[in-house]
């Protein structure tokens, strides 16, 4: 288990970075609005970062093994499908998690 000092540093670094990002636009309102580069990255980066995060979370899942592999792929397909259909985040997450629980229970290990 990591020591308290390191964890406090993690909390401090993450909190400071997050606060700086939230405060920056109020300080730089006019400059940010007129920069085509910031505008371009602002529009394209979110989708790219989220895709990387999903793949990062799946990095240790053995996708060829039946239970963890099919469990994750099936549940992700359901989450995406329900989300494209209804567009309600909590409903999509609940549906995906229930399917994941069911698949874990019924698929052979």
């Amino acid at each position: 288990m990591p020591d308290t000092g390191y964890l406090l540093a993690v909390v401090g670094v993450a909190a400071a970075t997050t606060l700086a990002l939230r405060a920056a636009p109020f300080a730089l309102r006019s400059a940010l609005r007129s920069s085509p580069l910031v505008d371009d990255l602002g529009r394209r980066l979110p989708a790219a970062v989220m895709v990387i995060l999903v793949l990062y979370l799946l990095r240790d899942v053995p996708l060829t093994a039946v239970r963890p592999g099919l469990g994750h792929l099936g549940a992700i397909a359901v989450t995406v499908g329900v989300h494209l259909w209804r567009g309600r985040a909590l409903l999509s997450m609940a549906a995906g998690t229930v399917v994941y629980a069911v698949l874990l229970a019924v698929l052979p290990g």
Partner: protein
């Protein structure tokens, strides 16, 4: 005067409670799964409320638990926070901060400008929102998130509750965020570049996959921007 301002305060609080009801219930549930994750990762239960009170950025908090138990360098933590929360820079451009009069209220509103707070306030006509209603909405949202995390962490610590299916809540959260972001961008190239970057990073630097992949994709997007800009200038 006193009674009418007290009535106005009650009306603001009632309106804020109504605004928060649906979203707050969801944050309570997601917060509970965050609390369980903290305890199941081997951290003491009280780190859940510390993360949620001080960092207060749901999706980043989930990642921080995983990053901190393997002792990720602080530079990588900062880069992760920067990239995961970069979308917040956009929120400030249209958040109705000018409606809040007190300094302390404005400071808290900026600190607590999470996705849900932005969604509940920036999408409403600014005239219908008083500053107090905005701040009350944000306080209620954070109360839901912190108490959910506390409940989950205490349940995990005292009942040794380990629900493997709840791990997926976290994956599902990011899948939903990814679908929303890809749909809003209406463009397939950035997500495809991102997927390729993630695969390359996993192959060359599995320990620092997140950092390498995000740096790689930012470089690719900058390169693409430069190429297009040069192309437009020639045309």
């Amino acid at each position: 005067m006193v009674t009418s301002s007290a009535a106005a305060l009650r009306a603001d609080l009632r309106a804020a409670t109504g605004d928060v009801l649906g979203v707050g219930a969801g944050m309570l549930v997601l917060g509970t799964s965050f609390g369980l994750l903290v305890v199941n990762a081997g951290l003491a239960w009280w780190w859940a409320p510390v993360f949620s009170a001080v960092v207060y950025a749901g999706s980043l908090e989930f990642l921080l638990v995983g990053l901190s138990v393997v002792g990720t360098p602080l530079v990588a933590v900062a880069v992760t926070a920067l990239l995961v929360n970069a979308r917040h820079v956009v929120y400030g451009l249209s958040f109705p901060l000018h409606r809040i009069r007190s300094r302390a209220g404005r400071a808290y509103a900026v600190f607590a400008l999470i996705d849900e707070a932005y969604a509940l306030t920036a999408t409403r006509p600014a005239e219908s929102l008083t500053g107090r209603r905005i701040v009350a909405t944000q306080v209620l949202l954070q109360l839901c998130w912190v108490s959910g995390g506390l409940a989950g962490a205490l349940a995990g610590a005292t009942l040794a509750l380990d629900v493997p299916a709840l791990d997926f809540v976290f994956v599902a959260l990011f899948v939903v965020l990814a679908v929303d972001a890809v749909r809003a961008a209406r463009e397939a190239t950035p997500p495809l570049l991102a997927a390729a970057s993630a695969v390359v990073a996993h192959a060359v630097a599995p320990q620092q996959m997140l950092l390498v992949a995000t740096v790689l994709v930012v470089a690719l997007l900058l390169l693409r921007h430069a190429v297009r800009w040069a192309g437009e200038r020639r045309a």
